[in-house]
């Protein structure tokens, strides 16, 4: 245990995902030894992310205005919506260059053990987007694990009566992994091999 400010910083860092007590201590002492302008820039970036970044009112991706960059882009088409769990999955799919439609970020997957049901995700908002009739295909790109698959199953049943083409990312993604860890080639191939639900 250290005194005052340095221990406060270690405690705060230790609450971040993936940062254990050892790493928190290492980062804290790195900050202490760093150039003051570097530290000020880091602090400013932390402030800015909370002040400026919000969620897109259409797709719930991260955005710096009402709508995110992708929803505002007139060169993208409105005929397909790709449903993902988290904003980081949008980034992963964008890197493949395979998809020119729009996204919908659910904010997680259905996980009853953690108390997350359909009402806790942006599913009602997705249904509202689909009701316009403009969307012809719904691509379910939830994580290839049990919760992600169950969420895709739930959405496929819900959307089926609307007569859309419902597809799911398939081959190439091993069950049990996180989408963000798939390499671009694997993810690209999964896009080609998607199947109708």
């Amino acid at each position: 245990m250290y005194e005052g400010a340095i221990q406060d910083l270690i405690d705060e860092l230790g609450r971040l995902p993936g940062v254990g007590p050892k790493s928190a201590q290492r980062i804290a002492f790195h900050v202490l030894a760093a150039d003051p302008t570097d530290v000020k820039r880091l602090a400013a970036a932390l402030h800015r992310v909370k002040d400026l970044v919000r969620f897109c009112t259409t797709c719930f991706n991260v955005a710096e205005s009402e709508q995110c960059r992708i929803c505002r882009d007139p060169r993208r088409h409105d005929e397909a919506i790709c449903v993902v769990e988290e904003p980081k999955d949008v980034v992963a799919i964008e890197k493949t260059g395979e998809f020119r439609g729009r996204y919908h970020v659910l904010g997680g997957a259905i996980n009853p053990l953690e108390g997350v049901g359909p009402d806790n995700l942006k599913i009602r908002e997705l249904m509202a987007r689909l009701s316009s009739g403009e969307v012809k295909e719904l691509i379910l790109a939830t994580d290839p694990n049990t919760e992600g698959e169950a969420t895709a199953t739930y959405l496929a049943l819900l959307v089926k009566p609307m007569g859309l083409r419902v597809t799911r990312l398939a081959s190439g993604l091993p069950v049990g992994g996180d989408l963000e860890y798939a390499d671009e080639v694997t993810l690209g191939r999964a896009f080609e091999g998607r199947r109708v639900l």
Partner: protein, 267 residues
């Protein structure tokens, strides 16, 4: 990223092996997971599966929820062990995730098993067998998911020592069947013992609950939907009364009729 260096150096835990059911998986750090398992001989165990979320992980999908697996654990210093090897025995999760009512029922079974094994590493062979059997039955699709869940909950409550009285009065033990049912009183109540606010379930509902707790599937499978709903309500109320915290998964169980398989392959 720096991983497990420093604290673990020089410490090599004892290895032990057991078969187990995967109850819960939770993300840990960048690519690990904490897996909660109910083992056959070592009770409930929490263990780290390192790198399991990477698509190149050698664990692959074997540590997904609801699977029956053969695991080699490396004993940790505290209560948290790590998983060094895993083989699938029957990965029920694969079949359950494509059927939403079965997935939600499996979640409620897993959460109940976790709750009824409060102490880590306290062997509970009966609970293990009960849980494994229920997941196997769900995956086999021979009975409606909600029936499998309610049968499991009734038997799990019997294992915990607080099964509802069904054939006799919970208060005076007079043989029934009785008309009244009171969760606080412990189940069926005779007309002399019934407290205010006791419910009046239909006789077929109590008969269904008896059938489910005794494994009489002929009776259970032929029961009408309304009777199943009423029995589910009483089972859930009885369970929640005895657990200090409500189960998170129980309100999310989808009790609608199972849908036709909807997955088809393109081309």
């Amino acid at each position: 990223m720096e991983r497990h260096n420093g604290t673990v150096t020089g410490f090599r835990g004892r290895l032990f092996r057991d078969d187990a059911v995967v109850l819960r998986v939770q993300k840990l750090g960048e690519s690990d997971r904490i897996i909660t398992l109910l083992t056959r001989r070592h009770g409930r165990i929490r263990a780290v599966a390192r790198g399991v979320r990477r698509t190149t992980s050698r664990f692959g999908g074997r540590l997904e929820p609801f699977g029956h697996v053969d695991v080699q654990f490396a004993e940790g210093r505290g209560s948290l062990h790590s998983i060094s090897q895993v083989e699938g025995i029957a990965l029920f999760g694969g079949g359950l995730m494509g059927d939403y009512p079965r997935y939600t029922a499996a979640s409620a079974i897993a959460e109940t098993a976790e709750r009824l094994s409060p102490e880590e590493q306290e062997p509970s062979l009966r609970l293990f067998q009960l849980t494994l059997g229920a997941l196997k039955a769900l995956a086999a699709r021979e009975h409606e998911a909600a029936l499998v869940l309610d049968a499991y909950l009734l038997r799990a409550m019997a294992y915990a020592g607080w099964a509802p009285a069904l054939r006799e009065c919970a208060v005076c033990a007079t043989p029934g069947p009785h008309r009244g049912f009171s969760v606080p009183a412990g189940g069926s109540v005779c007309s002399d013992c019934r407290p205010p606010g006791a419910a009046n379930p239909g006789p077929p509902t109590l008969a269904l609950m008896c059938a489910l707790s005794e494994g009489d599937w002929t009776v259970a499978d032929s029961s009408p939907v309304a009777v199943r709903r009423e029995a589910s309500g009483l089972v859930a109320a009885h369970l929640q009364w005895h657990l200090e915290r409500a189960l998170r998964s129980l309100p999310l169980v989808d009790r609608s009729r199972p849908a036709e398989p909807v997955v088809q392959t393109e081309r």
